[in-house]
């Protein structure tokens, strides 16, 4: 990211005479609109960096345990539904596209286009969560949620488990089967944290749609939409990694 040097906004020498030309959305403590936009974009990138560290902790844990308990992680990953997972990936990539369109609409001051794009993004986000719910429901039904009711049945006796049978799993020894619980712990922690980010994003989208209808982002002040765009793309990106790590890499031994 380019760091605007301190001199950049030196054109304005006193606060007084600049005031007249300020657009209404410029906050009082910035000297220029560019400075304001720069600052918020930079802040967003930094925030995303903290998010990287946040998910980074989980990814590290996942990679370590996968290395230790490889057979358990392979069998457990066979319990995930790749079709749903792929569908969800497509849904999110689409939502990223609509979000990017939304930013473009805001920049080119198309109010109705913006509202449409944001609504589509939100809908796709909800579809993602819907599919995730279906997946979670499967896990609950099969007692694959870690904790007291966790069941090892699918791993000790794969012959009677559709998903395991389809993947051609061999029965795991009890001690290894037990480690599938760690896989699902991380699965729920990672996808749960991701879903939490989606829910927060959808909440903000709803707020933005409400404001966008009133024309809030199509008057030239697009920082908020742009920054939210960064956030949304980041959340999508995290999903791409989750999809690869949780669903795909253990698919074939």
């Amino acid at each position: 990211m380019p760091d605007s040097s301190a001199i950049d906004h030196g054109a304005v020498t006193t606060a007084g005479d600049a005031h007249a030309e300020h657009p209404s959305y410029q906050r009082h403590h910035f000297e220029t609109v560019e400075q304001q936009a720069d600052a918020s974009a930079f802040a967003m990138w930094l925030f995303l960096l903290t998010e990287v560290m946040f998910f980074g902790g989980l990814f590290t844990a996942y990679l370590i345990y996968r290395n230790w308990y490889y057979p358990a992680f392979v069998s457990a990953s066979h319990q995930l539904n790749v079709v749903w997972g792929t569908l969800n990936t497509v849904v999110l990539i689409l939502s990223s596209f609509t979000m990017a369109m939304g930013v473009w609409c805001a920049e080119t001051r198309r109010r109705r286009g913006l509202v449409l794009c944001l609504t589509l993004t939100m809908t796709l986000g909800l579809v993602f969560l819907g599919i995730k719910t279906v997946e979670y429901k499967e896990k609950i039904e099969k007692h694959h949620v870690p904790g007291q009711h966790y069941s090892l049945q699918s791993f000790l006796d794969p012959a009677h488990d559709e998903a395991a049978l389809a993947a051609g799993d061999k029965p795991l020894a009890l001690d290894m089967a037990r480690h599938t619980e760690i896989y699902f712990s991380l699965y729920f922690a990672m996808t749960g944290m991701h879903a939490l980010h989606m829910i927060i994003g959808i909440g903000i989208l709803a707020f933005m749609i409400f404001r966008a209808r009133a024309g809030a982002y199509t008057g030239g002040h697009v920082t908020f939409v742009e920054n939210f765009g960064f956030y949304w793309h980041f959340v999508d990106l995290v999903w791409i990694y989750l999809f690869a790590l949780l669903y795909l890499i253990s698919r074939h031994q």
Binding site: L174, D175, M176
Partner: protein, 358 residues
């Protein structure tokens, strides 16, 4: 002096009698560690003195009264290089010296006498090979390398003997080791130094260092009647381990005779040495520790055998020669210091021949 309150008087007396600002040096490593300690202390003291001297003298010389106009100085690359390189050099000396001692403390010699230590909320259990069990105390002889193989049944604990300058955490799920050679008979503190819950401060005990003769006596008088390996033998039988692990040609499991210390190849292709940690893992998480050529049929004993049980089993396996019997050793004298070769085998079991039926 009568007006001094008895409490204060007591303090004074205690202060006089315990006029010790430094712990006793009761192990071989202690003087080595103290040498480093005093080296760092000396460097610190010199550094601190330099800083204090400079600050005080500058404060006097350049106080506003004496020196009303400051002279602006940008800096000095030479000076700055000096106080970058000299501390760095000193720190590196400490690093190397410290690392040497660290490796010494955590690399037990091959002929060390092994004692198992199990930590649990809130007590220490020590188990000698001869079957002597101790709670919150540890008896060791002088002049003999003693290795502690430690594990915790619950939370993190830490086994600390200040007089020996050694300390190691006992953590759940894996063995940790530390070793020392006591030099000075006496009774020393044993502390748990990793915070472990309500009665953390009561998880203390005594380390009793005895001369080899006294230690021999102590072993003889404290025996529980069966050695650790015999406890393991009983457990081995009651868990029916021998149904698979036997010497028959059609055995479903590998024979365990002489397995301790042997190099094994696992089904994963990994080559490992069968040490305490491996044996423990192979009992609790067998599926990742299957010897090449055998089917992964061994069930896990996680939750069925306590850590102490695992220790007994490991100890039994250590002492397995050709026959699956351990000699009755109520007199434990053959575990003693002078018989270095007869003690814990470091290599593939033959050293333990003395305790195993021919």
């Amino acid at each position: 002096m009568s007006h001094i309150s008895p409490t204060i008087w007591q303090f004074l007396v205690k202060w006089m009698t315990n006029f010790a600002l430094f712990p006793p040096e009761a192990s071989k490593i202690a003087p080595q560690m103290d040498a480093l300690y005093f080296f760092i202390a000396l460097v610190s003291l010199i550094g601190l003195t330099i800083v204090i001297l400079l600050v005080v003298s500058f404060s006097i010389l350049y106080s506003k009264e004496r020196h009303p106009n400051a002279v602006q100085i940008e800096g000095s690359t030479l000076l700055e290089a000096t106080w970058t390189i000299i501390p760095l050099g000193l720190f590196l000396v400490m690093f190397v010296w410290g690392a040497l001692i660290y490796f010494r403390v955590y690399t037990p010699p091959a002929n060390a006498m092994n004692i198992y230590v199990v930590g649990k909320q809130w007590m220490w259990k020590a188990e000698h090979e001869g079957g002597q069990h101790e709670i919150n105390s540890l008896h060791v002889p002088t002049g003999r390398a003693v290795q502690l193989t430690m594990i915790s049944q619950d939370v993190f604990h830490s086994f600390s003997i200040p007089a020996f300058r050694v300390k190691r955490e006992a953590i759940p799920g894996r063995y940790t080791t530390v070793w020392f050679e006591a030099t000075l008979p006496g009774t020393y503190h044993l502390f748990c130094t990793q915070y472990c819950g309500t009665n953390h401060s009561q998880m203390i005990g005594d380390v009793v260092v005895l001369s080899p003769e006294d230690f021999k006596q102590w072993l003889a008088s404290s025996t529980s009647g069966a050695s650790l390996a015999q406890d393991g033998e009983r457990l081995f039988a009651s868990l029916s381990c021998a149904a698979c692990h036997n010497t028959r040609p059609d055995a479903r499991g590998p024979s365990l005779a002489n397995v301790y210390g042997a190099k094994l190849t696992l089904t994963s292709g990994q080559a490992i040495t069968a040490d305490d940690a491996y044996l423990r893992e192979a009992i609790l998480n067998p599926s990742q520790h299957i010897t090449q050529g055998y089917a992964p049929i061994m069930p896990t004993y996680q939750g069925q055998v306590s850590e102490e049980g695992v220790i007994a089993l490991v100890e039994y396996i250590k002492h397995l020669d050709s026959d699956y019997r351990v000699q009755q050793t109520t007199t434990t004298t053959d575990l003693l210091p002078e018989g270095g070769g007869k003690a814990t085998p470091a290599g593939p079991a033959p050293a333990a021949a003395g305790k195993v039926n021919p």
